[in-house]
């Protein structure tokens, strides 16, 4: 089990885990339940420069497309090819094997702009938008 307290969260429902200077990004359990029926992941290209809060990719469900926002700024260093090929892993294990991409942070302190576990739970309890 992933300790959700070790994660930080964007209000747009991405989670972020900082290890050293590398931030792993995925979508939350709340988000995968809301989106349902994910059919396609558009992940950023490796090497892409991303900015905190700016669109970095997209998730498509049967009914609609949802933007995927970078929770921190930096350079994309890895993407989860397995998840791109079998998107159901994002439903099954959103915080673990369903991670989406990794960012080499340009300013790791930005992670403090994100919500902690308790604040995110409060955010989703209010509806999350």
């Amino acid at each position: 089990m992933i300790d959700t307290k070790s994660l930080k969260y964007a209000k747009s429902h991405e989670w972020a885990r900082l290890e050293g200077n590398v931030c792993t990004v995925g979508i939350t359990d709340f988000a995968q339940k809301e989106i349902r029926d994910i059919v396609y992941l558009e992940l950023p290209k490796i090497g892409k420069e991303v900015r905190q809060g700016a669109a970095a990719g997209a998730i498509e469900s049967v009914k609609a497309a949802f933007e995927l926002y970078a929770p921190v700024s930096g350079t994309v260093t890895a993407i989860n090819e397995k998840a791109a090929q079998d998107v159901t892993v994002v439903h099954r294990d959103p915080l673990g094997n369903g991670w989406l991409f990794k960012i080499e942070c340009s300013n790791a302190a930005e992670i403090n702009n994100l919500l902690d576990d308790a604040a995110y739970n409060e955010w989703t309890a209010q509806g999350g938008h």
């Binding site: 349902r36 029926d37 059919v39 396609y40 558009e42 997209a58 498509e60 049967v62 009914k63 497309a65």
Partner: protein, 368 residues
Amino acid sequence: MEMATEPLKRTPLFESHKALNAKLAPFAGYEMPIHYQSIIEEHQAVRRGCGLFDVSHMGEFWIHGTQAGKFLNFILTNEIAAAPEGAAVYAHMTNERGGVIDDLIAYKISSERYLLVVNASRIEADWAWVKTHAAPFDVEISNESPGYGILALQGPRAMPLAGSLIPKISAIERFKLGVFSIAGGEVIVARTGYTGEDGVELIAKNEQLPFLWEAITHAGAKFGPFSACGLGCRDTLRLEAGFPLWGHELGEMITPLEAGYGWVIKWDKDFIGKGALLEQKNGALNRKIFGLMGKSAGPVARQGAVIKTREGQNAGIVTSGSFAPSLGKPIALGFLDKPYWEQTDFVLENTGRQLMASVSKLPFYNKG
């Protein structure tokens, strides 16, 4: 100043949907179930076992009288009057320009009694049209949409399920109907649907619907996979089957010929719009609906996406698009302009996202 909004209408099965934890959303003025569990799972239930849909938002018009068949032949493209009793006839209602006011099924209960089932979003427009044109005919017309509901039971195991409840249903042929007395009233059971699978639609008064829903749901487990199904999978199923949806492939500015539905026009009778359609048939057809299938997984091209050639010329526009759960890739219907009808490879472009696609025969999905 606040906008006046009408409260959403509810079907007689609203409480059942709530109890099943349905995701409800406004559709054509009704609060309708979009899905209960997952659109993909509900889709697969219909492809593999059977699914039960509440489509009570659809409209019901009764047409009675000695000239009922003659009247319907005049306002609809297909042949209704000469159809045998007990027939269910798919037809378009066209305006003078040949544009499609609505697509519907005319159910011939007897030579003087017909039921039209129309799209929920078109009830008002259709009713205005029917009323306007009924005057010269010896017919009685009534819009009974609020008082009637419809269940659709669809899938390869739908007929065995329905037959387990009422054996005589098994004898109904495709595009035929039977009238039964169930749950204290008349139930019209027609072997029709909108999923590309076998099945029946049950049309009855509101107060009978909860009993029908419960009886079918109880029997469902034996004919699984069984699921209550929302409008979400109704759309993916109809799209895989290549069926048009009004507001997408059909509209008042779109003719049956442009939609690829020339077969619903019977040319040996007179009907509103015939002249314009004849002209188009004789050489003035400039755009037509085609099926397009993604070459691989990719972004879904939805209504409004531009269809381009590989060289970048605009060749048309997507009218409906979705991920196809039975095929594992995106599919779309869209208009192609005449110069591109012979080409096979296109790029579907939607807000910067591109999907490589090739022209596909319809239906996209053929049942096993």
